[in-house]
Amino acid sequence: MRTWWFVATFFCGVGMAMWAEELMLRAQENRLEFSAPQVHFITGRPKERLQNAAPVAFDMRVSLWAGNRNYVKSTLTARFVISYDLFEERYSVTKVSAPSRNANHMSAFEAEAWCLQQMSMDVTGVPADQPLWAKMEIRAEDEHGSSLFRGKLSENGISLTDYFVELFSGRPRPGQSHWEPEAGPVTLEQLRRGKR
């Protein structure tokens, strides 16, 4: 009986892992495009804030390794601000990093996909047979912001409670929404042939 449970748990784990957040790559001429249909970042606390008429900033960074995983070939970062129209019940996204862009009247899925589309990378010069790995990091800016004194300076002084949390957090802060889908190894040749 105990063995049966162990095996069942193992396969459930494998199954969950297969459904885990995945990054999809697509090679379009000299650009590498990203999508992640399984990743939904307009969810949970950020979604609550959006549906409460507050704009929410999402920071994204895509890292690309070529040849091996010891060397990051290139990274791209961007910030998106999403807001939710209370009356139209549709999302609006602004890419505030240069080049800035904007898209409106989108569903949550469309808004997420639009953000990922803006993260495409130029892969000119990358050999077609070289293995590539990619990782997309997405973090929702939490209500506390990121500057040291922002929101912490009051008439009583500086609140250090939040400050220490931020100072010692190399990782996302506890409770901060974040996603890190990955892909690879895969070659450009494989992607051009249609394999992810």
Binding site: N52, A53, A54, P55, V56, A57, D59, M60, R61, T77, A78, R79, V81, S83, Y84, D85, L86, F87, E88, S92, T94, V96, S97, A98, N102, N104, E137, R139, E141, S146, S147, L148, F149, G151, L153, S154, E155, N156, G157, I158, S159, L160, T161, F164, E166, L167, S169, G170, R171, P172
Partner: protein, 431 residues
């Protein structure tokens, strides 16, 4: 005595100005999330605002009520609502205020609700002041506060070389209950225990029996809100201090003696603010008058009366900020050194060194200052006089430039006088 630590200064500057977003995958670009281009809801108009539960809303001060009401009819601005939420949180002493926004009765109108969850306890750590002064060294104060059901329990540590003729360092503990039976009456007890360090100039100017090594205070006080925003604090400051010089008659048996200074304290305060974060013009006025009187009724060794009046006015228009301050004080009788007035620190006669001017302070004081800043760049002028007898009275002046933003300030100030002018440098937060 204290040398400017370049490394420490740079560290402070970096801490104060740099965002700690190195761990987040973002561009360096910082964005105002409330920009109407970024929030589609900024085009909607606020139909109504309320505070829930209603009982909490009724506790808010009239100026804050007015500020909230002014938002009705304006476009939705989340940053302003957050700033109002912060003020509500501070006034009600609640751990958090949630802002709820929903569709209103009319098209393109929204209703805003500030929800104040009634949580019963919270914990906070605060740096009350942090300062480096090139003539006086470091000053720092930190407090830990535990709040539970309207009771505040605090414990803090301090080392202050700025505000008095002495450097005092030690602990501060307190208990406060903001409402006793009624919303208008609060009670607090404070216990302070310090040991002293003295500058050579003060030691040379004072008589040995004026110099104490330690002092402790126990201060029970009540606060009564007379009529918002006018409050009245009253209580008793029971202080005792240990003087290193013994009584001549006790020379053989004791190396020190303890004296007491038990004073009735009473302070009237006024604080009013006009305009909110979104208004082009904002004004703030705070003023107080305090009297401390130590008499034989409380078996005080020191018999004196100390009066202090101060007023500060601030006007902000766009990037321009003007601040005007006024202080006046008078001591009659024989007060311990920690009661005496000081000029020539990071708040008064900036540019003068208090140990060069009057190392023992004075029993009479008048001071005025004017600060002007544009986008944080600051210029100021201070003038004042400190004296014990009329013959000593001499007006001093100083000028300075610096940068001031939020609670952070860095400046260089010069005394206006003939001969060599040694500039004073200071940097700090919330002093």
């Amino acid at each position: 005595m204290h040398k400017l630590s370049l490394t420490g200064l740079l560290t402070l500057l970096v801490l104060a100005t740099a965002p700690l977003g190195a761990n987040t995958p973002q561009d360096a670009q910082d964005v105002n999330l409330q920009d109407s281009n970024l929030n589609v809801n900024a085009r909607y108009i606020i139909e109504s605002i309320s505070v829930a539960p209603e009982k909490q809303g009724a506790k808010l001060s009239a100026p804050l009520h007015m500020e909230i009401d002014q938002m009705v009819g304006q476009n939705l601005d989340h940053s302003l609502l957050e700033s109002l939420g912060k003020k509500i949180k501070e006034e009600l002493h609640v751990p958090d205020v949630n802002i709820r926004i929903a569709k209103g009765q009319m098209p393109e109108r929204v209703v805003v609700t500030f929800e104040t969850p009634q949580s019963q306890s919270s914990f906070d750590v605060n740096v009350g002041r942090f300062l480096y002064h090139s003539k006086q060294g470091w000053t720092g104060e930190g407090t830990v506060t535990y709040r539970h059901e309207g009771n505040d329990l605090s414990f803090g540590m301090i080392s202050d070389g700025d505000r008095l003729a002495e450097r005092y360092a030690g602990i501060q503990a307190g208990f406060e209950r903001r409402k006793i039976g009624t919303e208008r009456v609060g009670l607090r007890f404070r216990f302070l225990s310090y040991h002293q360090q003295w500058n050579n100039a003060t030691l040379a100017a004072a008589t040995p029996d004026q110099i104490y090594r330690t002092r402790q205070h126990f201060i029970p006080e009540m606060t009564v809100i007379l009529a918002t925003p006018l409050t009245w604090d009253f209580g008793v400051d029971f202080a005792r201090y240990r003087i290193a010089t013994p009584y001549p008659v006790a020379l053989a048996t004791s190396g020190a003696r303890t004296e007491s200074s038990n004073a009735v304290v009473s302070t009237l305060r006024y604080h009013q603010r006009w305009g909110s974060g979104s208004d082009p013009d904002q004004q703030e006025l705070s003023a107080s008058y305090g009297i401390r009187s130590a008499t034989g009724v409380f078996e005080s060794d020191a018999i004196f009366t100390r009066q202090l009046a101060d007023a500060h006015y601030k006007y902000k228009h766009g990037h321009n900020t003007v601040k005007v301050g006024f202080l006046a004080g008078r001591i009659t009788g024989d007060a311990p050194l920690y009661e005496r007035f000081i000029l020539g620190n990071a708040e008064t006669l900036r540019g003068w060194n208090k140990f060069d001017y009057r190392p023992m302070g004075g029993s009479h004081m008048v001071h005025g200052s004017i600060d002007y800043s544009y986008s944080g760049f600051l210029v100021f002028y201070d003038t004042g006089a400190l004296w014990d007898t009329k013959h000593d009275r001499e007006q001093k002046q100083s000028l300075g430039v610096g940068f001031s933003e939020g609670g952070f300030e860095i400046a260089v100030a010069f005394p206006i006088r003939t001969g060599a002018a040694n500039p004073v440098f200071y940097v700090g937060v919330n002093f």
